[in-house]
Symmetry: C2
Subunit: 312 residues, 2 copies
């Protein structure tokens, strides 16, 4: 049997058939923006999903369909008021895909899907208590407690990217100030770089247009020993690790699992994060591990979503 | 049937028989410090518990025995390394009382017991997702998710009194700096008062010996309109409410429930806490309520512990 996973993004929606062992057997994608009407999106995706399923014996071989999407609501099976998608208001995703494909459909947000993927296929397979932290354009989180995803009263639990790490700090997209994601996302670290570039300190980064700098540029400069770039990674990791130390007080996790674009910088970000976490964590939580996802970046979103498709 | 609840404190251990409706039918207490040997404590308490049970038909009328204790570990049924108790190391509380009384014995820490009490008998009876915050000598918390207490990997979940609210802030008993409880406990608010008294500002509080000031003194002064005392409550509530706003991102709770000595100050602490929570919470969590425990202070600890004694 197979599960289908789909990652709905503002630009692309990628989907694939996944085996029980966590192998993406085949995959396809559509451009999300080509379908401003949701019903058209359902038709296009369903047709292609059926074509994928035909390669393994048809939809009878599919146990379920898991969808990870921005503002995905697990309780309602909907995408609700997603600012980066064309579909307005509350979109009945599970209902429509269920009708089109005849399999159970489950929806959740991207970071929750990542946590489920890590639990089923990744480094967290033996963990029943962990917090997944996704360091991408923003900072997301998915919290696993007693082996299950924490959804909370309204399905919105795990918005740890919006914990305040600096009172009256940087303005966040959520309208508040000083949120973790304004410092420790791929975009946050670039904001830090721009602040450093506003000083007189010399740096290889000055050879680049400040408006176009990416976290990849910071990585390249740091690998060449650029002090400013190294400082930027150290500051970012220190903020992240200090925040993780506080997060442990909430649910006494066995581990944090880090994933996302920023983790491509490897030890440059991992080491200062670990050091700050260990320096700031309460002694009683000192056994908490800091792990890095081992799931291949290209497969992670589809795998995570597919984890929702299996019957428990 | 009845449940027995016991609150083990550094000075007194109070226990009582509780009816299903949450009435403390009868109660008794021993001085904890009179029993430096744990076995003697078990004998003394068990004898008195049996005497209480005799009033309702004997131990056959008792469904279970719940114990709230500092450093109480639910998973192990133990008290572990409690700094304020004479019993050293790991104390097999559930095992010893189980042998002495012949009923199931369950152990947890004080704040968790308070959360269970509020869920079974208090303002949280209809809530399945809430965070209990106890504002006493320290700040404790008990987190209810999907109707059940959150214990975490090692039974230590819910140490929200040790979330950092001020980087490099006040030294905490846990060895770290800036923990919530160094500002928002009954002792924390007194530290704030001492800081204010180190200025030149006039205040009724100057009529008192600064070393002996209590939160009750601050209440009395504030009720007489003393500006310094009012400022102290406002600052304390602002720190607490701002922290609660962040806590909502973890588990998307329906409510926070406040309890403990500091809440005797009523609106003086409640109003600034609510204002700061509402001003700082993410819009998606804006429905989260701020409730105050309605359980009588004298009964709360016994009631909370007794909630553990019922079979589910």
């Amino acid at each position: 049997m197979y599960s289908i996973g789909m990652d709905v993004g503002g630009t692309n929606s990628v989907f694939g058939l996944v085996s029980r062992e966590g192998k993406v057997v085949c995959r396809d994608a559509v451009k999300t923006r080509d379908y401003p009407v949701f019903a058209d999106f359902v038709s296009a995706v369903s047709e292609r999903v059926k074509a994928l399923a035909a390669q393994v014996g048809g939809m009878s071989q599919v146990e379920g369909f898991g969808i990870g999407a921005p503002n995905g609501n697990y309780y309602h099976g909907t995408i609700e008021y997603a600012p980066n998608l064309a579909w307005r208001g509350v979109v009945p995703v599970a209902e429509e895909f269920g009708k089109a494909l005849g399999v159970p459909v489950t929806v959740t947000n991207d970071a929750n899907a990542a946590a489920l993927g890590e639990k089923r296929y990744g480094v967290a397979q033996d963990l029943d208590h962990f917090i997944m932290i996704t360091l991408g354009t923003g900072v997301g989180s998915g919290i696993i407690i007693d082996g299950h995803l924490l959804y909370g009263a309204n399905g919105m639990a795990g918005e740890l990217g919006h914990v305040t790490v600096k009172r009256d700090g940087r303005l966040c997209g959520c309208g508040r100030r000083g949120c973790l994601e304004t410092y420790c996302s791929a975009t946050g670290i670039v904001r830090t770089a721009r602040e450093h570039l506003a000083t007189d300190e010399p740096s290889l980064l000055r050879n680049l247009n400040a408006d176009d700098i990416t976290s990849k540029d910071l990585y390249d400069a740091a690998m060449q020993g650029d002090k400013m770039a190294l400082d930027i990674f150290n500051e970012t990791g220190t903020i992240l690790g200090t925040a993780l130390a506080d997060f442990a007080t909430f649910c006494d996790p066995q581990a944090f699992v880090l994933f996302g674009g920023l983790m491509k910088s490897g030890d440059l970000i991992y080491k200062p994060t670990l050091a700050a976490m260990q320096a700031n964590i309460m002694p009683v939580f000192s056994k908490t591990k800091l792990l890095v996802s081992t799931i291949d970046d290209g497969d992670a979103a589809v795998l995570g979503a597919s984890a929702l498709g299996w019957k428990e």
